[in-house]
Symmetry: C2
Subunit: 227 residues, 2 copies
């Protein structure tokens, strides 16, 4: 009694919000933030641009939703650990890597303060700050310092990646050309930037990122000892 071949009205199944978000992620991963266009999206979904507005409020809503899917996945996959500071390092590193792999997440997070993806991160990091023994009155400060740092570095890294992609260079060549530009700066006006250019070539973004997290954790530990 099963119909072998129902005649579909226009598409086999109704358009869902989830389908739209998945297609948006594919577009964003393939060609960056500029690649997410309502027209490109509707073409990929074999529909008209208007159909999408039945499932999302607007483009920024879609971008935040796409970001949230990846953030939720990233946080879920971060390896848990017994020690809160090790867990914070693992969470931070997982987010760093996710933003590195999908640079558009960086700007999407920056544009969505207080929205769900940010709340997910806040909550996961905040729970570990609490477990670290930071007194309740200082928990907000400590957590938002960690979040600011993670998003700040992540955002810069994402911008580097986007720029490198636009110029068709890989990461190393891109950093090399940046270092070369800095090396040409007037040493009298920009002494530090001029001098540091040499270090740019041999540095490790990921290790430097973690070193900053450790700096913040060390600061928290110092405050705890003083208490």
């Amino acid at each position: 009694m099963v119909k072998k071949a129902r005649t579909p009205s226009r598409r086999d199944e109704a358009l869902t919000r989830e389908q739209i978000i998945d297609a948006a992620i594919e577009l964003l991963d393939a060609s960056g933030e500029a690649g997410l266009t309502l027209r490109a999206l509707s073409a990929r979904l074999a529909t008209g641009p208007g159909a999408i507005y039945g499932h999302i409020a607007d483009k920024s809503d879609l971008l935040t939703a796409a970001c949230d899917v990846l953030v939720a996945r990233t946080l879920d996959e971060a390896p848990p650990s017994a020690a809160p500071d090790a867990t914070i390092r693992a969470l931070a590193l997982a987010l760093f890597d996710a933003i590195d792999a999908h640079p558009w997440i960086g700007s999407a997070l920056g544009a969505a303060p207080g929205r769900l993806p940010m709340v997910r991160i806040l909550d996961r990091v905040g729970r570990q700050v609490r477990a670290l023994g930071v007194p309740e009155a200082a928990q907000w400060r400590a957590t938002s310092a960690l979040l600011g740092y993670i998003l700040g570095i992540g955002g810069q890294n994402a911008a580097n990646g986007q720029l490198a992609r636009e110029q068709g260079l890989d990461r190393t060549d891109f950093l090399d050309s940046m270092a070369a530009t800095w090396a040409m700066l007037d040493p009298a006006e920009y002494p530090f930037a001029h001098a540091i250019a040499a270090q740019m070539r041999e540095h490790d973004d990921r290790a430097d990122f973690l070193a900053g997290i450790d700096l913040l954790l060390a600061g928290l530990a110092a405050a705890r000892r003083k208490r």
Copy 2:
């Protein structure tokens, strides 16, 4: 022998890059990043949109240049101090306030890695890191941690400000509505965000920002002691 009234060809004086940048800053301050439009800009300068392209490469070049003017001014006006850590605090706070007053600087900085405004900040902060006695091999790490933090918090703050403006709320009402949203979250799924919502209402962004800088400086001091 001075001509009292030269007949101007079409405008009294030739268009300059500086005029364009100043007009862009006015537009950005008046109506945010969305307010900077080549059409609005050319209307304000009493010319056609094409004329502007003789003086700037493209819109992102213009945004970076506008950002650079404000960053240079901000750094120049930051009160100098004898102690390097006090100078770092002053620089950070000056940048925080500048981004708060001109939220578009936040995203402009994020979009311009390695460009002049970022180099200015890197250099000024880096010189103080050096003066702090951080060993040369660790100077890049320490400086980029500070920069990441400053831009990260600045960016979030800017996003808050932009969002608040779009909703026609002042800062307090905006944070209140955000806290209210968080308070409604499922405490089982988001225990920290749910609990921290109450602290949102009474916190001081500026003081919290500085506390994070102090955390980083404390971490640097701890590393120095261990050396």
